[in-house]
Subunit: 508 residues, 2 copies
């Protein structure tokens, strides 16, 4: 007689049945986060009109995803990487978490030099989950809360949450149970397996941005985007054995510089008459899109697509200030400028959510949301009702937008604070803070004291500054922005010549 | 002007200073756990007399550790691996956590067949930190609590906390931030790097006990004990950069079977006239001892020895029922029997604690303690005062024994429950439960109903069963043991012929 038959069945069944109900209440969740991808870097039109960019780039799987879910046409990130990623993982606005610029090395700021202003003492070491670590923001991460609530948590790709040699450098310290290739680096030394993803094998020290963990692909003709996808699928194979729902944070290194040629797609773009570098850029996009499709195929083949939510997002605007062959600052048109800018080109992102059980297919939403909203949204999706993170949560769940049951964006204002010096110059690039209120957007420049006011609904390209005409709105929004920044204990730069802090927007 | 000079110093200093104070209150902690090491597998005498084994084996670094700390002569584990490791990581007695036998594959019991009894539905999948996983005990692990309280948590070596393809298989799921070579397997396919630690490279599936993660040493003439030590030191190099205290759980695969020759030490033992297999066994011991010494050297060289606690322990008694060339069941003499037995040979462990700040050098303690005591002890050492694990904590901190400020063992009883069928036969090996109360130890055999009573102080070899003479004590301890087991909801086997449960010790 087998031993299992002796155990009274009544002992087992209620237990397993409860567990299965709980699992069914908890969908799998995939965050598919692209790096430095602009709002127009796709064949899927997020604007009211189809643009030249939509015609150039080919992203059939983004179209497929949009076809089975909801597009968001006004989804915002921060203008650079670390602040966005930190906000996503913490629910906290960058003005509050103070990881306002990009991180890399311990106790080392990546601010560029400015003759006029000195950036504040921002959290140059990023986030961490432990106390007493200098220059970090202590948090309870989204992954940690999901893990604590029964999710199997997988990190794949770019992390960029904390500086090297600090606890936040490693996703394992932030509640992830699997980490594939995530570390302190926010860029990549090479996309190419043939180049060992930038890792040195001659005994010399590898560059800080060499991609870790993918040794098995070294020397092979494979792009990092593909290698990460293969590894993510392996992690999902294993996840399915664990009797837990999974959270896959699939954060591609693509389409960050260096703009290398993914030869699976490159020639097609050359044949369209595009330059070498623009063709290479397009090949990075299409390689990322193939990864999306491969993961969607995987979910379908494994019969878990119906119970899996996919959230597609980028961390900041497309790079338009350097490294591209065409006219600078125009690659995100109709948006003005790109990565690093307070203009829409720097912060508006392509965003799609597929949630078969709840979201209407082929739907589109024009309400604005911001990157920290992912935190409460995902926890609501996961049916995690009680959580008590160390940090305040500024984000608002956009589940009501997805289900059509409410509009949390109504009457809401969005805020940005970048008291730093990014480096390249260009439209809207500088130490700024901004507020979006309905159709209006106010931008304040800490160094010059200049203010700009745009009606985004009428002027998506932010070329008609209305600050002179609508001083009433400038005054109202300046006051609101100043109050907000002080309330969340935001930071501002200091004037180099006087050593005094720059003024808040409502002090000018 | 450097930007740091602009920031008011007053903002910084109190913060960093507080952090440093906190760090100083929190020592680094190393658990050095050996696998299947018997009480006599060392040149360091844990008995009142020096034995032949103490003369055969050479463990200079255990002597060195004892020289700087406290030896425990009556430290207990369970009689097999998983229950001990689970108790250490949870503070819970095996009778309660029900991971009573060793784990390996999901939903698969490793109980051997018996004609008489059927083991209960024990937690064959081990522990995990999430709910709804069948046949597991849900816990908050020691590593998790330490991590949540600011420790950098490193797992190196054998895990054996949960079955393959369940959440507990992987230390990353249990609060460890680094995992080197830990998985579901409790043994090892090979010690040898030249043999890839048992991993197949011919496309065939590797055995379940192939050691993971150490690919870089494949094909090299290196023992796994050495490879783990090198990797642990690298992890400590990095830990020192993180401004956190560290918890290193250094759990060697040694000295588990297969008994392979570590050629760095083997010939010396052959020259003493020992057989091939006994010399190989001795070489495994000395390889483990070298690792201990290397880590002690590391701490000293790096100036952190004074603030680092080392706890040396084994998980169960030395294997004496199979695989050795000398007379079976004698290899732990003066203790009777070995691994798998309720006798002292199966459960008494070599234990040493070095804590420079608090523990007297060259000291010895004869009070008894048990493996689940490590949990509250380590948390007390780490100055973690409030914690709220899911599981009840049965262990008692032995910090007062270390500091001489109290005796938590006084008047305390220790309990074991093994309602399983291990496999090999031998003295004290079977489905048993036991209680130790002062000098007395009662063992109850579930299948036969037999009871044995030993006075451990007078009869460490457990050869004089006093159950006939001291029926008063048998009755008292039977009652106590039965009550305890029912109180913690312990499990017992079932009789195969009737399907009825075996009797509790106080029902016979």
């Amino acid at each position: 007689m087998e031993w299992k038959s002796i155990v009274p069945l009544a002992v087992f069944i209620p237990f397993i049945s409860t567990a299965q109900n709980k699992i069914q209440e908890r969908p799998n969740i995939v965050v598919f986060l692209v790096d430095d991808m602009g709002w127009q870097d796709t064949s899927l039109p997020f604007w009211t009109e189809r643009t030249q960019w939509n015609n150039l780039y080919e992203t059939p799987n983004m179209e497929r995803l949009a076809n089975q879910g909801m597009m968001f046409t006004q989804a915002y990130g921060c203008s650079v990487s670390s602040p966005s990623r930190v906000s996503l993982l913490t629910g906290t606005n960058a003005a509050r978490h103070r990881v306002t610029n990009w991180t890399l090395e311990k106790n080392k700021s990546n601010d560029d030099k400015s003759d006029v202003i000195q950036p504040p003492d921002w959290n140059i070491n990023g986030i961490c989950q432990t106390y007493g670590i200098a220059h970090t923001y202590q948090v309870t991460s989204l992954a940690q809360i999901l893990k604590d609530n029964g999710y199997h948590t997988i990190h794949c790709g770019k992390a960029h949450f904390g500086a090297k040699d600090t606890p936040g450098e490693n996703p394992y310290h932030l509640g992830f149970e699997v980490n594939i290739a995530g570390h302190a680096g926010g860029g990549l030394a090479s996309y190419s397996g043939a180049e060992n993803f930038g890792n040195r094998t001659d005994g010399q020290k590898s560059p800080l941005q060499a991609v870790p963990d993918l040794d098995k692909y070294w020397g092979q003709d494979i792009f990092v985007t593909e290698a990460l996808t293969l590894e993510a699928k392996k992690a999902l194979d294993h996840a399915q054995k664990l009797d837990q729902p999974f959270f896959l944070y699939m954060a591609h290194y693509a389409i960050h510089i260096p703009i290398q040629k993914d030869m699976r797609f490159y020639q097609k773009y050359r044949d369209k008459g595009m330059t070498e570098i623009e063709s290479a850029y397009a090949s990075l996009i299409e390689g990322m899109d193939k990864s999306l499709g491969d993961l969607m195929d995987y979910l379908e083949i494994n019969g878990i697509a119906d119970n899996t939510i996919i959230l597609f997002m980028s961390d900041n605007g497309g790079l338009a200030a350097t490294s591209r062959s065409s006219v600078l600052h125009t690659q995100n048109s109709p948006l003005n400028s790109g990565k690093g800018s307070a203009y829409e080109g720097g912060i508006r992102e392509p965003m799609i959510v597929s949630w078969p059980a709840k979201v209407k297919k082929q739907s589109k939403n024009d309400e604005y949301i911001i990157i920290e909203d992912f935190f409460p949204t995902i926890l609501e999706m996961a049916n995690v009702k009680k959580y008590n993170p160390i940090q305040p949560v500024d984000g608002k769940s956009f589940v009501p937008l997805l289900t059509g049951e409410g509009n949390p964006s109504k009457g809401r204002k969005l805020y940005w604070n970048f008291p730093n010096v990014w480096g390249p110059s260009g439209p809207g690039i500088g130490a700024t803070c901004s507020v979006r209120d309905g159709d209006w957007k106010l931008i304040y420049y800490y160094d010059s004291g200049k203010k700009e006011l745009f009606n985004i609904a009428e002027d998506i390209g932010e070329v008609n500054d209305c600050s002179d005409k609508r001083t009433d709105i400038v005054k109202r929004l300046s006051k609101d922005l100043g109050q907000y920044l002080r309330r969340v204990d935001a930071q501002r730069p200091t004037f180099k010549n006087t050593g005094h802090p720059t003024l808040w927007p409502d002090e000018v």
